[in-house]
């Protein structure tokens, strides 16, 4: 094998690895949105802004008290859960049954919420780009493969690897929670048919609050995990909200395993696209897939969503 | 040629056979009653004829033309209108506006549409309600509004899905009168109804289904007295 071919293989391998690792984080963001969408049948257009909030919590915990971002998950998860419950209880639930001309009352409300959160962050923390300078930020693990007389050297970013691992663990926990616990089963029942669930004695109000809390906690976890590998700024949420619904549509709305697949696909698409097509269009590749899915398989890649 | 003809129509939802090998036809000028216990597949048949669902297999012909691949609005434009068991008023519009919407499939002009709508409203005895907002109507009037709207499309064939359910006795009488009037004006009718007194008195012919399949067909008295029809009802509705 010529060194050029080996180089190409190395590049491709590297691109795939970073795509999958990034996709793990995206999956976490998508899981949160998919859960909310499944139960509440709405999109949360403040999803990315909630992630931004979690990123700043993690940032300040690190800056002020030297709390490692992975440790701060222990603070971020409960805090974000409570924030989500509060938003659902005091903002979204009251407008749910309001009889108004415009549909999507709750979604419109999340638009307002997103605007408030991102601009409040702007006011409090300025537009400066910040990062969390952990000691392992650029730590890399190498993996050499001998192939046809050449050595192909693949690198794994340590913080990305940890983030991927934690994301997958959280995804698995969510799956177990939804499958094995009473509350989890109640969430699934509510997602399937809210009225029937209510008739069976499920407290759908409470379940909806828990769902929004969980969705918020999941995207919050993604934010904390993103901190060591990304910079943060107040307007970071918007693009991630877009990513979240692209993932959700890819996976099929309300489909939990689908959301993980959708996250991985988006991560790979961005990674492959920005290397082989153009870096400038990185944010647009997800949309191209999104449109293709809408045209050819509107129920999502797994064909199980609600079209 | 029959006005409407279903030949060997089946509809599956996943593993569930909602309608199986259904064949029947309606002749022009007829009132055909469709009966059967709850969940027998009556509304599914309406949804198949109307175009909301496409049959898994089989054919549906209306005036000789196949309509089983058409969308509901295309079916409607060919002269086949329906009402909904769970009423669907356009809640923020007035009764008149509700009825003008279908009238626009017969004319482009607003004035003409209003005229046609008022005719349908008059015909269904709703004139005093014309300016009321549909969302504020009592159930009896919502059911009547379904009739008025379907009528405003000027149908050849009208599918009525439980238009009598939830009405009080005097409303039932009025609605029977209206349905008879519609029929006399030259509209063929296929009607789903649980109220046996109503269906026996207005149908020319009855079709009884259970578990998505036809179990009896014929003169109302004969069908109502067939043992397995009685059994189907006693086994579920009257249990």
């Amino acid at each position: 094998m010529s060194p050029q071919v080996a180089g190409q293989i190395e590049l491709l391998g590297q691109v795939l690895i970073s795509g999958i690792l990034l996709g793990g984080l995206y999956a976490l963001i998508g899981l949160g949105m998919s859960l909310i969408m499944g139960v509440m049948k709405i999109i949360n257009l403040a999803h990315g802004e909630l992630m931004m909030v979690a990123m700043y919590i993690t940032f300040w915990a690190f800056t002020l008290w030297k709390v490692d971002p992975y440790v701060s998950l222990l603070i971020v998860l409960p805090l974000m859960f409570l924030l989500g419950v509060g938003i659902q209880k005091y903002l979204l639930a009251p407008v749910m049954d309001a009889n108004t001309v415009l549909p999507q009352n709750q979604v419109l409300l999340t638009v307002g919420l997103g605007l408030v959160l991102s601009n409040l962050a702007l006011l409090l923390f300025t537009a400066n780009y910040r990062s969390v300078p952990v000691s392992y930020a650029s730590k890399t693990i190498y993996w050499d493969i001998k192939m046809g007389g050449q050595t192909i050297s693949l690198s794994f970013s340590f913080p990305f690897l940890v983030a991927f691992g934690i994301a997958m663990v959280l995804g698995a926990l969510l799956f177990l929670f939804l499958g094995k616990t009473d509350t989890g089963r109640a969430i699934r029942a509510t997602a399937q048919d809210k009225r029937a669930a209510a008739l069976m004695g499920v407290d759908t109000k409470k379940i909806t609050m828990i769902t929004f809390g969980l969705g918020t906690a999941l995207v919050g976890a993604a934010g904390a995990l993103l901190d060591p590998v990304y910079y943060l700024y107040p307007q970071i949420g918007g693009p991630f909200t877009n990513k979240a619904f692209v993932i959700t549509v890819l996976g099929g709305m309300g489909n939990i395993p689908g959301a993980i697949l959708g996250g991985l696909v988006l991560g790979l698409a961005e990674s492959l696209g920005s290397v082989y097509i153009s870096l400038g269009y990185k944010e647009a590749f997800g949309f191209v897939i999104f449109v293709a899915v809408l045209i050819f398989m509107p129920k999502g890649l797994l064909g199980k969503g609600r079209a | 040629m029959s006005l409407l003809e279903l030949s060997d129509v089946s509809k599956r939802f996943g593993g569930l056979m909602a309608v199986g090998h259904m064949s029947f036809s309606i002749e022009e000028g007829e009132i055909l009653g469709l009966i059967g216990p709850n969940g027998a597949g009556k509304t599914t048949i309406f949804n198949l004829i109307n175009g909301y669902f496409q049959p898994t297999s089989g054919q549906i012909r209306f005036k000789g033309e196949r309509i089983d691949a058409l969308r509901p609005y295309q079916v409607c434009r060919r002269g086949l209108a329906r009402t909904f068991q769970v009423v669907k008023p356009l809640a923020r519009l007035t009764v008149l506006e509700n009825v003008m919407v279908p009238a626009f499939s017969r004319t482009e002009h607003r004035g003409e549409a209003e005229h046609l709508a008022r005719e349908a409203i008059q015909f269904t005895d709703m004139a005093p309600w014309a300016d009321a907002v549909a969302g504020s109507l009592p159930l009896g009037m919502r059911k009547r509004l379904e009739l008025a709207r379907a009528l405003a499309t000027d149908p050849k064939l009208l599918l009525l899905d439980e238009n009598f359910a939830g009405l009080n006795p005097s409303e039932v009488e009025t609605t029977i009168e209206i349905v008879r009037k519609i029929h006399q004006s030259g509209v063929t009718i296929l009607i789903i109804e649980h109220n046996m007194r109503v269906i026996m008195s207005i149908s020319h012919r009855l079709l009884c289904i259970n578990y998505g399949e036809k179990i009896a067909e014929g003169k109302p008295d004969a069908v109502a007295n067939e043992p397995h029809v009685i059994e189907a009802y006693l086994g579920s509705a009257h249990a």
Binding site: G112, L123 | L93, F104
Partner: protein, 327 residues
């Protein structure tokens, strides 16, 4: 009503004479911006308020209109020719809208709302990267065709008037009835002979055309655009929704009331709370939805509707078949 017969022509004369009397460029600027936002609000309202199809990304159409104009200038045509952007920008926006509508309106669910939001983002990225045509993030700058605000005042007045008349005549015709029917209940509409995909698309095309024309006017008036301004989700897409909701969705005069209030608020905030204006508008959106969901004009109409309902109650009492008799 008799009073409105005199009121409307009188108001028209006043509006036409304003530039002759008002010489303050600042005041005229405010009026011009207000009218531009009336166009944007009305256009969003046709699709969102009357047809019930919520768009979170109308900046896509605004930006396409603005960039069509900008590209005309960049290709070397004179600023006077750039006014043709009012037509071509509108058409370009409608073309993009046709594509996205054709893909999304066949599907049920929030697909359209989401796609159009993503579309605005993608177009922003394209505008940043396609430097040959757009100058990228630098934006396009040129010297506008006219000196003096009066020209712009009359042009935007014409635009807002045409926009208003088109929407009103649409809403009084078959199309309008179909739009409302689709908003109220798509299943019912379809069973009554309406092709929902076709009429949602029609509503979107009209809406996108005028939004694009608004974008083109913006470029012609200010002479500068960049991707971050014209494709902005918060500053364009969301504010179009705010203007409509504040005034009253699905009303004829709501967007006008909303636009004027929006411009007043913006100016006030620009002076007193420069970095917090979006926080204020965000809170305003939440407050409107919770406390005042039908907006200003909508709430006034609700009062009238209550009268109508009383009428219905009277009718019920007069009709022997009314359930109140038997119940």
């Amino acid at each position: 009503m008799k009073s409105s017969r005199f009121l409307l022509p009188f108001a028209l004369v006043v509006i036409l004479l304003i530039p002759a009397v008002v010489k303050s460029p600042y005041l005229l600027h405010m009026l011009i911006l207000s009218m531009l936002w009336v166009v944007l609000g009305q256009s969003w309202n046709l699709l969102g308020g009357f047809t019930g199809q919520i768009s979170y990304g109308h900046a896509a159409f605004f930006g396409v209109g603005a960039y069509t104009t900008g590209i005309i200038v960049k290709l070397g045509y004179s600023p006077k020719v750039a006014w043709s952007g009012l037509l071509f920008g509108g058409l370009a926006a409608a073309l993009i809208a046709a594509l996205i509508g054709w893909i999304c309106f066949r599907l049920r669910g929030p697909y359209f709302s989401l796609s159009v939001l993503a579309l605005a983002e993608v177009l922003r990225i394209v505008a940043i990267n396609f430097k040959a045509l757009t100058n990228g993030a630098e934006g396009i700058l040129y010297l506008p065709a006219f000196n003096g605000k009066a020209y712009y005042y009359y042009i935007v007045l014409a635009l807002v008037t045409v926009n208003f008349l088109v929407i009103r005549s649409v809403m009084r015709s078959k199309l309008g009835f179909y739009f409302l029917a689709i908003r109220e209940d798509q299943d019912a509409a379809e069973s009554l002979g309406i092709n929902p995909t076709r009429y949602k698309l029609t509503s979107l095309l009209i809406s996108a055309f005028f939004t694009g024309a608004g974008g083109a006017f913006y470029m012609n008036y200010l002479g500068f655009i960049d991707p971050g301004i014209v494709f902005s989700i918060p500053d364009i897409s969301v504010m179009m929704i705010l203007v409509t909701m504040l005034g009253g969705a699905a009303t004829f005069w709501g967007p006008a009331v909303g636009a004027v209030l929006y411009i007043l608020c913006s100016e006030f905030l620009r002076v007193w709370l420069p970095s917090g204006h979006l926080i204020f508008f965000g809170i305003l959106i939440i407050a409107i939805i919770i406390f005042f969901p039908n907006g200003i004009v909508g709430s006034l109409n609700d009062l009238k509707a209550r009268k109508k309902r009383r009428l219905a109650a009277d009718a019920a009492a007069a009709t022997p078949t009314a359930p109140s008799v038997a119940a």
